[in-house]
Assembly symmetry: D3
Homo-oligomer: 243 residues x 6
């Protein structure tokens, strides 16, 4: 598939202009390949993901997190973008534009949790839906843990019928959804956000950055199935363990 056609495809799925102003998305490493035979999809351009791409002869790595975030005043061989360049792997990063995209990060998360009648929240990024059956806050947290295969932290003792979700480090959503939903699920929640959730009676669930976003790898790989490329999803392990 022509790289240009891949870019055009994603520009329709997750337009660059919909990314947040502070974000950095697009073809962040361009090795000059015009035709892509093998593409790897991963959450991050970790050493493991880059090695997997190299082993499989991929010309392109698609990541959710930008391989370059702060612009580089100097380029060092240990930086993921430099490694990609040296190994001839171009990198396309889809970040907040993929969070917002129809069927993207947050729609995938909502679907994993079994939410129904899912709509886009006022922030344009989060999703809100209805649980088939109302649950206690503790049972809802248990549901999240089971569906996302991860331990979770939670607060609240209310009944959860309406749930809002936003993958990643979006703990400030506890302020936005206190009067809009019964529960709010995200990856990371900070201390003062936990306090605010408690004060407002919202059930908040922190399920981990990795666990809430990694499902989108499968989604993006599926989008590319019917092309002439070999499409390889790479599921990295979570970057931490629990004790």
């Amino acid at each position: 598939m022509l790289l240009q056609d891949i870019l055009t495809f994603f520009e329709q799925k997750a337009p660059k202009a919909t990314a947040e102003e502070w974000d950095n998305v697009g073809l962040l490493v361009d090795c000059g390949h015009t035709t892509i035979n093998t593409v790897v999809v991963a959450l991050d351009a970790t050493p493991a993901a880059l090695a997997f791409a190299k082993e499989n002869g991929a010309q392109l790595l698609i990541t959710h997190h930008p391989v370059i975030f702060s612009p580089l005043a100097e380029v060092t061989h240990t930086h993921p973008a430099a490694k990609a360049l040296q190994n001839g792997i171009s990198v396309l990063s889809l970040h907040t534009n993929l969070d917002k995209a129809a069927g993207g990060v947050n729609d995938t998360l909502a679907e994993k949790l079994g939410l129904e009648n899912v709509t886009v929240a006022a922030d344009g990024m989060s999703r809100i839906g209805i649980l088939p059956t109302a649950l206690s806050a503790a049972d809802f947290a248990t549901l999240c843990a089971a569906k996302l295969h991860t331990p979770v932290s939670f607060c609240g003792d209310n009944t959860v019928k309406t749930g809002a979700v936003c993958g990643g480090g979006a703990g400030d959503g506890v302020f936005a959804f206190a009067n809009v939903a019964d529960a709010y699920v995200t990856g990371e929640i900070k201390h003062h956000e936990w306090l605010a959730a408690n004060e407002s009676g919202l059930c908040a669930v922190a399920a981990g950055h990795y666990a809430t976003e990694n499902p989108v790898v499968k989604t993006v790989a599926a989008w590319l199935t019917d092309t002439d490329m070999t499409v390889l999803p790479f599921y990295d392990t979570a970057p931490y363990k629990g004790v």
Copy 2:
């Protein structure tokens, strides 16, 4: 004890000028009490802490987290500062100045973990010390969990002899301490910070904002023991549970 003497005491222990520029510390709610008979010490001005202070007739509440962080363009009765004011409880907040103070948040944390030969790190806030016995990363994480009475998340498989600590949400310390210590313990670590820790081979431990900072409540209460005041430490519960 005169309020003015209490302020003078803490100005020596944890001078306001040492707080970070973005911080807001000091006597943030001033009800006009000049003499303090009963003082409560807590991590936050939560509803529980304010209720405890009121029940015990305290004129002053000392908190680590600022009762006012963003300046208030309007004052609402549900805000902790308004509640304090309406209940006649002045509030003194010691935040990053207490993090940095000798014997403060981070010295208390280092001591809890059994670090020895503790020194102040280059950032002026974190502390670095030596473990009596070298441990594997997993064993060190287990030690943190035990000493702080909390589940923890960690990464790394190195041997830990030198440990750096900074209570609260200081995950960006993983960049500063990668080549300085074998392990870094803080409250909250974000996704890209976990990735960086993995990449550099640092053992990083996220032990929770609450669990890494709450020990300072006992410390501050102890500082005031030999005064003519009734000094009541208030140990709030963590704002979330695990599943």
Copy 3:
């Protein structure tokens, strides 16, 4: 009357969105009262106005000048907002939105001076009208002094037929109205503004901040007459005397 209905009423009369960007208006102190039985209207939340509100059991004080202007990083019991909160008096401030409102500060001022065919000036705040009879600058200044019950300062020796008005500290209007009106009346005029008025031949009149704005107290009180509330205008004295 429900507080919410009062807010809705004023949102129609003087919408918050019409206030200047630097201004701070709205329910700046919220004690949580949902029903208001007694309301006091005053120019400022002075000690006298707050005492009057307390004596009369008012749940709400409406002021022209914001009870909080610069956001509060700390709250002290001597601050008017703290006093209001401690005495259970909510405060609604209508400032530049009331200056601009139809029938508000500046329409009231124009009416007091007897201007006719009054229109809104290009700045959206000041008003311009026609005197029934042309007057010398000195006679116009004398008229202002008589109508507003205050000594005034003035410059100019032209004939005044068209007059512009803007209550408060709006002396920079002398630049805007030099070629638009024969006279400009405001509360406070600075030295370089007087020089500019002299240079352009404009009759400028400084009638005092208090004297040019206080008439709106009666106006706002009148707006609320036909409600189920006890409505008490409070006419403070001017904050200075002359020698």
Copy 4:
């Protein structure tokens, strides 16, 4: 006298570097005269002052207020700087550097009011001194009016022994001097500054921008008496009258 020597003289008396950062002082209009035979000293480069300078064949006009304040993107013949240039009159403006200068605007004002043991206030500009005899606030205001030949406005009913002064539009001094002096005299005081003075019990006196600064004209003229120049002070009239 050589212009360069005049500039050197004033650089010693009132160094440019002592002017406030926002100020614009120095030789703001330079017609190229190297030798000055006749110099006029005035508060402002008003039409009257410029006409007086021209009639007297002056090559230099010294003013307190800057003849150019906001830098000029275009030059129009009606601007005082253009008039000066067209009439061959250079203009030297000494503003906040003269306010602060020993013997300058504020020392002159303090002396006019009979203050003794005068010292420089913490702001580097105002002056603080002692009255020979304590007076009531009203009597102190009457004294100011008599010494400065102007009506004044005032507040307060305390006893005045210590007085602070700052000529011009320095009403924000009411905050700085509330606990430092019994009275504060300046030219212009705004509404919220009057309220603050009332609240703190300070006697504040607004004696007019012109009346508090014009005395310095005589002072500066006197500084130049023993030169080979004809030195002509020009006492403009106040830019407004009272009714």
Copy 5:
């Protein structure tokens, strides 16, 4: 002709609002002349241009480069604007608005080089056209030198059929036109701009600021021919010579 009519004429030809945000255009020196009998048109208000205007009794000088660029905090007799004011010569400057104007600086330049089918480039200022005959880069550079009567510097060895032009110091156009035109002609090109042109294979031509803009003097003078004014173009010499 009335000055006001001249301003209206140019407001139609080259509206002030079309000038760049950083620019300063319009009647930058206004001596108060309402009727203009003699007008001089020049590239700059150099001493020679001002002397020419004075000798010819002109009341108005029209320049391309602003006689005041950075606003003046002080006015010195050696500044061109001061000289103009002292000699009673008003100055009207048309800068980036004239660059963009139909028939203005860049249309004049395109015409001088013989470009055909000239259109406005995407930047709104440059012009793009077609050469009647394709030329080698070196021959195109030679053509530019001949038509503009100046030595030129150039790079490139491509064939030039489509040419873009922008008079003055617009070397950054080499980035904009690399894939849009075969050649780009401007006045000044900096080192890194030359490198970029070389890298992209663009023929870039630096023909001098003066030589690329001076032709507009004749254009503007021609615009005013059919008025009742004496219209005198002044062709200054280039400000440097070659060795």
Copy 6:
């Protein structure tokens, strides 16, 4: 030679901290080589310079102009830094720190022109010296052309005894040196800078960015002669030709 020793050597010769705040200097491309056998020195990382480095098996390229100037939000294979990285060539750029360095860009330029008693100018970067024999401006320009092997542009008809120099695009030096030197030599001079030089009577010489800086390549190569490395200066051609 160890890369670290090379960096230490240049940190002494031209410390990074002496570079201008807007500049970007240092090891801008780091391929991870710890030992350098062959180093190339060039003015710019042009395609020719990179090809030369590759052909000669260099591990390091030292350039004057930063290989990365604006930080890179994305890395493309056509960018010089990407080419260097892909070819395993680290790049060390010394820019304004080399301009200022003792014996660096500007000392080299001063020496080429035969200036004597050379001192550092007030700007810390330019150099000022004395010609052995006074020359007319035209003869001085001819001297510059001869010594730097380039055509030059110049203005002025004064006698040149004292000369100031600053390589590169430093035309704004004409303002700084008008009263300090008889002549000022730099690479690029803009139109309004030529006008200023003419007005002040300064002899200004524009000798080209390349011609005024390229001599430093030989200088830097010479600094490294006595090392164990193969040191290869690369003299690029000027990026433009004259017609």
